[in-house]
């Protein structure tokens, strides 16, 4: 790969020049298995890196198995599931169930947001289903991604230790 590449989807790398915040977290960024949109992922990666976190961006159309395998391997502090194609609730349910079914990934904090359905109808029910399936936070459509920063800031320190273990 070319050395000038700045948006690397695969390697988990420390934030480049950003000032080291009190706690630098390792974030696994993913989307639904059917979701092709990537600008949301590119944007979220930049935002998180600028704030001192390191990001592993899985790119578009992430099958559940790939997500679970990567989470097992890298032990991230947080999994962010971003989806905008309207299948977020369906894909999200499958992803959460898969992650929670595996003992080693069952306790990794997991949040979801973007545009989760194809219409505003039924948003409450979707949220309830997603929470029940194992998401720690479900952000309704239109929520600014900045909420991720405060969420990361208040994550218990044990996460990082666990990641290092």
């Amino acid at each position: 790969m070319s050395p000038t590449r700045t948006l690397t989807p695969y390697p988990l790398r420390p934030a480049a020049a950003a000032p080291e915040p009190a706690e630098s977290r390792r974030v696994l960024l993913t989307t639904g298995s059917s979701d092709a949109h990537t600008w949301n992922l590119v944007y979220l990666q930049l935002l998180l890196e600028e704030n001192g976190h390191s990001v592993l961006n899985l790119g578009p159309c992430v099958p559940e198995q790939l997500l679970v395998d990567t989470a097992q391997l890298t032990r991230p502090d947080l999994v962010v599931f971003s989806s905008v194609n309207g299948h977020g609730h369906l894909d999200g349910l499958r992803a959460a169930r898969a992650l929670r079914a595996e003992r080693s990934t069952s306790d990794i904090p997991l949040v979801i947001g973007g545009l989760l359905g194809i219409s505003p109808d039924g948003a409450e029910q979707r949220t309830a289903e997603l929470l029940a399936a194992g998401f720690d936070q479900v952000h309704s459509d239109g929520t600014k991604p900045d909420v991720l920063l405060s969420y990361l800031a208040q994550l218990p320190a044990t996460c990082t230790e666990r990641a290092a273990a």
Binding site: M1, S2, T4, R5, T6, L7, T8, P9, Y10, A16, A17, S33, S34, D35, A36, T38, W39, L41, V42, Y43, L46, L47, E50, N57, G59, P60, C61, V62, N85, G86, H87, L90, G117, I118, S119, P120
Partner: protein
């Protein structure tokens, strides 16, 4: 061939027939999971009166081949984002497609890197029309390896072509290559990808294809791209393959408001017609939020078709506006296609290799088979450009631009959306009722800088006094910042200063009168600054340019808020690209001007005012050579731009040796940006003056100029706003009398009087100090009385002055002030710099004495005080051609050094930087060279031994002068080519001098046409008319009695409002001779 009866009509033929009838085919993006809903949608679309194509868009599970998930979701009643075609199977699909009826084609749109199952189901359902491509449905859509996608598409394409043929239908594939990630991909790659994928389709048996292109950020560039697409398709596709061009309404982040989305949609329909696309796929007003309903789709289809018809009519009225030139987009696209096709005879293989090598590289695409080194960015002019090209065979067209941040990315992604939301909310709903008589006079003002603003200010002030007889509507157009224009726009370095004291600057044509500030009566810059920013203001000093920009915006605000009856002013942030004449307008009975804007629309006006300000010129031969040289020798840099704000000075690394060509006002800006702008500070030095505290990030600055000195320091101002100088010898009356006898020779006939005038002040001021004010007055009177016929020599004046007291030496020639080192030789750079410092210290001392009390600065100030008289001699052909040439080449720069200099603060900073070793001037008669042997630039003074310096960067800090012939502004170029304007050629007695400036009449400054007629429907103010007139680079009015700045603006406002009074009209073009003096000949 037996055409199966159930199949919808052939897409290619349908589009061709529509194009033949002059109609744009419109098509929705539409897909519902439930068959009955999908069918109802198709019926509704087919039922429209427009020429439509029905769409079945597939859901995301089907796209990725997860048909079981799709079926499960449908069974469970969960909503999907499209029609699960494979899951529903061929029987249901055929029934659904039939709902479009027998006359409307149906296309299946998906987004799958492996379309084999989809095409199989389609073929079985009697459908043969689809979309996609081995690249465009792979890299932007998922993680399937490109090699797999190419293989799958090869097979699927052949299958669909053959199977359809067997079914008696002609298959059709549209390439999605014109979209890719929807945003931030420069058009050349979109065009190339569309063409390449269609070549791939043709190679695999398709006989009917369409080439796509998605609307991007600049209408002009989009027209170019569509032209390139058509051209390349003609060139490269086998002639037997049926083809047409399909445009996609903007595919990136969409406007959120209904009005904004509608506006963008209409622009896309307009673009489709102008760019010669035959089919348009629309977006709806809910695009930014949700998947649209059928009704929303129908609304969008109708609106697009209606706009297409409107545009088509407009084009019929003005056949000259063709579909544009392909230009830069064509060059780049051709380079890409050629490079790819050279990799293999098989297009699929060639595409694979191209991505592997980075010959093709989609910006911001995360797919692992994409190299990811390329970046697109949006230029100030709205065009999408390459900021990084990776390994593609292209040149990056914009400089590298720092790291991408989430913020910058977000701004770029949202740019089109926000622009349209904003515009739509500003465009009040157009009045539906027929306008009431009388017809308004419509005025287009091109240029929203101080000159344009000064006209607006006078228009409002005049209308407030006396409402116009007819309504007047002004549209003010500027691509940068209306009110401030480019030079004073608020986004620039805070270190750039004005060079007129804040107290001497106003944009109001009258002083504050106790009432509210309004056009005609308002605060000076100093007064406003003191109130607007009390903490930072320095009303006695020189304001940063950004502060003046804010002041101008404040004035504009008042102009817009004035709401005087009968006058409407509409600011439009856009670049005017071309103008032409339309049919006679109702307003005046004369052909209207139609001004096309870069955002795509056209404004129609009765009168056009050109106040476009500082030119951006083509580089000259030397500059181009330097630029090429620097590009061939990285990291060497050649930085050129017509003002420091336009220069990428951040690119000059700390510690580099940077040469600066020119030591004028731009030089000071450059120095400020490289020192203060990099964190350096100036502190008071012991024993007076300043001391420089470096930040360590500044480069070594090596400036050089002809004279080897910077501009002379401006004398401390001791004159009130009301002060008006009364000349003794260089009087307006004397000059008028001289001019009446025919063109003058400035050097022999005019300059001696001017020099005498300066000497009267020089010697008189000394007399005032030595003897008293009476002595000064008596000396002046005596000089005026004695020397009536011939200008006195400096020596003669000195003798006369001796009679009144000790008056010292006179100034024997003007250039002495500006060229102190003429003929000198220096043994070393150190010696030169020492003398330079001494000289500048002396100059500073003169400046401190002031422009009234200090003899030298008082004399220099004469040049400013009598500027209007100089203009009365020079403007509109007052000099002989030869003298005019020498006036511009010799007098003009000398006068600039003496009378346009910076405040004392800047000269003190110069000295401090000199002492700190940051500034190392080279010497007089300096020559810059591109040294091929050393591979770098060098500079050397012809008068200083051992002065040669090697440079890592060269900054060109000369201000380009007006020359229409090399002006890059498309509007000016077009007007010149059309003969509506022409350059002022000073010709007399067999001699001729083409000044390059725009030829105009005297007040109210109509342009002179190429045929010698006067263009009475147009007006020109300011810098474009430089050389026809002298010293138009004045960006502000002065408080007190009106100067030329305000008078000229008022003259145009008056002439415009006179037009608003209905009156009988005669022919427009008359010989210009009488009015324009010699300017027209």
């Amino acid at each position: 061939m037996t055409r199966s009866p159930a199949s919808p009509p052939d897409l290619g033929s349908y589009v061709r027939a529509a194009a033949g009838a002059g109609e744009l085919v419109v098509q929705p993006r539409m897909g519902m999971a439930v068959p009955s809903e999908m069918a109802a949608g198709l019926t509704a679309v087919a039922g429209l009166a427009e020429r439509t194509v029905g769409t079945i868009t597939l859901d995301s599970y089907t796209r990725v081949g997860d048909h079981s998930a799709a079926v499960a979701a449908v069974r469970a009643g969960k909503p999907l984002n499209g029609f699960p075609l494979v899951g529903h199977g061929p029987r249901i699909t055929a029934k659904v497609a039939a709902a479009a009826g027998r006359h409307t084609p149906v296309q299946v749109r998906h987004g799958s890197a492996d379309p084999r199952a989809i095409f199989r189901t389609m073929a079985a359902a009697g459908l043969g029309t689809s979309e996609g491509g081995p690249v465009s449905y792979c890299l932007p859509y998922g993680r399937t390896p490109l090699a797999e996608s190419v293989a799958a598409w090869r097979e699927a394409t052949r299958f669909l072509a053959e199977e359809s043929r067997a079914n008696g239908i002609r298959a059709h594939l549209e390439s999605f290559g014109g979209c890719l990630l929807g945003q931030l991909c420069p058009p050349s790659l979109l065009v190339a990808m569309s063409v390449l994928e269609c070549l791939f389709f043709a190679q695999n048996g398709m006989t009917s294809v369409s080439l796509s292109y998605a609307q991007q950020t600049s209408p002009q560039q989009d027209v170019e791209a569509l032209a390139a697409l058509r051209l390349l398709a003609e060139e490269l596709l086998p002639p037997t393959v049926d083809r047409h061009v399909v445009l996609y309404t903007y595919m990136g982040v969409f406007p959120r408001s209904v009005a904004g989305a509608g506006l963008l949609l209409k622009r896309s329909a307009d673009l489709a017609v102008r760019g010669g696309a035959e089919r348009l796929i629309v977006k709806t007003e809910t695009e930014a939020h949700r998947i649209p309903t059928v009704a929303e789709n129908l609304t969008a289809l109708r609106a697009a078709a209606a706009q297409a018809r409107r545009t088509r009519r407009e084009l019929a009225d003005a056949p000259r506006e063709g579909s544009g030139e392909a230009g830069e987009v064509l060059l780049e696209a051709r380079a890409l296609i050629t490079a790819v096709l050279s990799l293999s005879d098989d297009v699929g293989t060639a595409l694979l290799r191209a991505f592997h090598r980075g010959v093709l590289d989609i910006p911001y695409c995360l797919h692992p088979d994409n190299r990811g080194a390329a970046r697109g960015t949006i230029g100030d002019d709205g065009r999408l450009r390459w900021s990084e090209v990776g390994a593609m065979p292209l040149l990056a067209t914009v400089g590298r631009s720092g790291a991408m941040t989430s913020n910058r990315l977000s701004l770029m992604l949202r740019r089109v959306a926000e622009q349209h939301d904003r515009e739509a909310s500003r465009q009040a709903p157009e009045p539906v009722a027929a306008p009431v008589a009388p017809e308004p006079l419509r005025i287009g003002l091109i240029g929203g800088g101080p000159r344009g603003l000064s006209i607006l200010e006078r228009l409002v002030a005049r209308c407030a006094e006396r409402p116009p007889a007819r309504p007047v509507e002004v549209t003010a157009v500027d691509p940068y910042c209306i009110g401030a224009g480019r030079i004073w726009r608020p986004e620039q370095s805070p270190w750039f200063l004005m060079n007129t004291p804040a107290r001497e600057v106003t944009m109001f044509s009258g002083p504050s009168d106790g009432g509210p500030a309004r056009p005609g009566a308002g605060p000076t810059l100093a007064e406003w600054w003191a109130v607007a920013d009390p903490e930072n203001a320095d009303p006695e000093g020189y304001a940063p340019r950004v502060v003046y920009g804010r002041y101008l915006r404040f004035v504009l605000g008042l102009v817009l808020d004035a709401r005087v009856p009968g006058l409407t002013i509409r600011p439009v942030k856009a670049r005017a690209l071309t103008t032409d004449r339309g049919p006679a307008g109702d307003g005046t009975g004369e052909p209207v001007h139609r001004v096309r804007l870069d955002r795509g629309d056209v404004i129609t006006v009765d009168r056009l005012v050109l106040a476009s300000g500082h030119p951006t010129n083509e580089l000259d031969e030397q500059q181009r050579e330097w630029l090429n040289f620097a590009e061939m020798h990285p990291p060497l840099r050649y930085v050129v731009g017509d003002s420091a704000a336009e220069m990428p000075l951040d690119a000059v690394p700390p510690g580099a040796t940077v040469g600066v060509l020119g030591m004028g006002l731009t030089f000071y800006d450059v120095v400020a940006a490289l020192t203060l702008g990099r964190g350096g500070r100036f502190l008071p030095a012991e024993g007076g003056g300043l001391r420089y505290l470096p930040s360590g990030r500044e480069p070594r600055i090596v400036p050089a100029s002809r004279s080897g000195i910077p501009l002379l320091t401006r004398g401390r101002n001791q004159k009130t706003a009301e002060f008006r100088y009364r000349a003794r010898l260089f009087t307006p009356e004397r000059m008028a009398a001289m001019r009446a006898s025919g063109p003058l020779d400035f050097q022999s006939q005019v300059l001696p009087w001017l020099l005498a005038e300066m000497n009267i002040v020089l010697l008189g001021t000394r007399l005032r100090h030595a003897v008293g004010p009476d002595a000064e007055r008596e000396f002046g009177e005596a000089a005026a009385a004695v020397h009536r016929e011939e200008p006195p020599s400096p020596a003669a004046l000195a003798v006369l002055a001796e009679g009144f007291g000790p008056a010292g030496e006179p100034l024997d020639a003007l250039w002495r002030l500006a060229r102190p080192f003429a003929g000198r030789r220096f043994a070393s750079p150190a010696e030169y710099r020492q003398e330079l410092a001494d000289w500048l210290r002396e100059d500073l001392a003169d400046a401190v004495l002031g422009n009234y009390e200090g003899p030298v600065k008082a004399a220099s100030d004469v040049l400013r005080d009598v500027r209007a008289t100089i203009r009365s001699v020079v403007d509109f052909g007052g000099l002989t051609p030869d003298s005019h040439r020498r006036f511009l080449a010799d007098f003009n720069p000398v006068a600039a050094v003496i009378s346009t200099g910076p405040p004392a603060q800047r000269s003190e900073q110069f000295l401090a930087l000199l002492a700190a070793g940051v500034l190392e001037p080279v010497g007089p008669a300096a020559r810059f060279r591109a040294d091929r042997d050393l591979g770098c630039f060098t500079v050397e003074s012809g008068q200083v031994e051992d002065s040669r310096v090697r440079l890592d960067a060269l900054v060109d800090a000369r201000v380009p002068s007006t020359d229409l012939r090399s002006d890059r502004d498309p509007l000016i170029r077009g007007l010149l080519a059309d003969g509506v304007i022409r350059t002022f050629v000073n010709s007399w007695a067999g001699g001729a001098f083409d000044t390059g400036g725009l030829a105009t009449t005297d007040t109210p400054f109509h342009p002179v046409r190429a045929d010698g007629g006067i263009e009475r429907t147009m007006f020109v103010l300011g810098i474009p008319s430089e050389h026809t007139r002298w010293f138009t680079q004045v960006g502000s009015g002065r408080p007190g009695p009106w100067g030329a700045f305000t008078r000229d603006a008022d003259a145009i406002a008056e002439a415009l409002l006179a037009e608003a009074a209905p009156r009988p009209r005669s022919a427009t073009a008359e010989p210009a001779g009488m009015l324009a003096g010699r300017a027209a000949r």
